[in-house]
Symmetry: C2
Subunit: 301 residues, 2 copies
């Protein structure tokens, strides 16, 4: 798993900062999360292949999280895309995007499939052999979801050394990879676990933006490898959190601590602060493993 931050600043796009968008690479997928204005230019800048994006997850319908979507969808059309594009986002997103396309008389020539969300409980949005994606209901001024991306356990790997040691014939390798026990030349059964290696631990990534401090998400994000949690403000501006339904860096760290996550990435910074280092300093007082998102930065998970 690898997440690339295309934009992580709140409110408005500026000359050197971009509103929220991220790309998550996991197994053979490239998921786009949120799509603020300018996302398509950021995708070009970081040489992310447009055709690999098949699923776009939109947290909520504030401009800094989705005003880049009609343009991206149109660009896909202009580039001759033919494959399906799935959009997951709050109810209303379909009407909004299709109205923009209709007004320009430029409907897509590829299948554009909307999955509109309105549940306040977690929902499974996507699942295949290797990955699942589900919602993390958040607490913001408008209906908002975070997203939880979980790898499924990979199959166990054949331990070639062990097969030699136990004198297992190659003809059994495929069956062993699929979970069968082995049999030695003398007909003695050898347990599958002795002939295979543990696969790497499946990874998980939780994207939580935008949201007020909200402990109800703890069971959903418990033990994730990486939590991206918004930190629009510092504690010195915590009075603004109630009204705007945003969180401080300290609050993000409290959530990370209580959910016992592996690492915390902060983002969605208000542009009132001179340095984003202040967010890290504040979070480190509560939780030890903190990284700062910044436009163009990638994190291996």
């Amino acid at each position: 798993m690898k997440v690339t931050i295309l934009g992580c600043y709140s409110a408005t796009p500026r000359t050197f900062t971009n509103p929220t968008s991220q790309v998550l690479e996991v197994r053979n997928h490239l998921f786009l999360i949120d799509c603020g204005e300018g996302t398509q230019v950021q995708l070009r800048k970081y040489k992310i292949k447009f055709s690999r994006i098949k699923h776009i997850f939109i947290s909520h319908l504030h401009g800094d999280h989705f005003f880049g979507l009609p343009g991206l969808i149109s660009t896909f059309r202009l580039l001759g895309r033919e494959s399906e594009l799935h959009i997951y986002g709050p109810k209303g997103i379909k009407e909004a995007v299709t109205l923009f396309l209709k007004l320009g008389d430029s409907w897509t020539n590829y299948p554009l499939i909307f999955h509109e969300l309105e549940s306040k409980d977690t929902e499974l949005l996507f699942e295949d052999d290797s990955v699942s994606v589900s919602t993390i209901p958040l607490d913001h001024r408008v209906y908002t979801n975070g997203f939880l991306f979980k790898e499924k356990p990979a199959p166990r790997k054949l331990d070639v050394k062990a097969t030699t040691k136990h004198n297992i014939d190659r003809s059994q390798f495929n069956n062993i990879k699929n979970g069968a026990n082995g049999k030695t030349a003398n007909g003695v059964e050898v347990a599958n676990q002795k002939l295979t290696l543990d696969p790497p631990n499946p990874k998980s990534y939780a994207f939580c933006s935008d949201t007020a401090y909200n402990e109800t998400i703890l069971p959903l994000i418990e033990n994730v490898d990486v939590l991206y949690h918004e930190s629009t403000f510092l504690e010195s501006e915590s009075r603004l959190c109630q009204k705007t339904k945003h969180a401080t860096a300290k609050q993000a760290a409290q959530i990370a601590h209580k959910a016992q996550v592996g690492n915390l990435i902060l983002g969605h910074y208000s542009t009132r602060y001179k340095s984003i280092d202040l967010f890290k300093e504040e979070a480190l007082e509560v939780f030890p493993r903190v990284a700062l998102a910044d436009d163009g930065k990638s994190f291996d998970i």
Copy 2:
């Protein structure tokens, strides 16, 4: 009059090129023409004061001419704008923009006034003491207007030397500025024209994008000081003009020649060409005064 090109490339925003948007300074106005995705960032980059923009003219509802509008309107709100904003554009623009704002539950806290257009004849959109703006109906795949910006003649200027020569008392200066004749100390009347200087010629600017070659616009743009005319293609791709309703550089020059304009600015280049110099070369074969628009370039009119 001065026009600043914020973006002048067709189709999609890219790392180093922007879709259509321009700012026209004329007398005390700052008019924004079209608003492709990323326009607000371009405005910041070229240090154009957001608060000076009170009128936005949208030619048509293709993404590369208006997908930056919801974001710009939202940013005005976030910056605490209080003054009226007038949007002129094709019917449907109000529904589209307001739907985006409604979904984000972020209606403006300043008056947002839409002037929806659907006439196929030229219309006067705005007029005050110093400037008028009217539509130039164009021929494109969707309903499209260009815009004609015309200064009104400024008042005649007092010729101080002439007042001395004719022995005119200072007490008459204001009346003379307002058009009255003067009177010498001896009571002899002196015609206003002898005591005042011609004001500078009023300037005019015509924005014509997007459009196929269309001679019906000639009477509207005749003798304008500067014509911005789209040139999406070169003649080598003229076969594409019919289907896409765009023009070649040569066609733009033919329009400039027939309308006897002062200068021609080309723009809305397809990104298939390696150098935009090719557009100028082609146009120069037909019309002698050709300039190339490019992002960030300004032209005094």
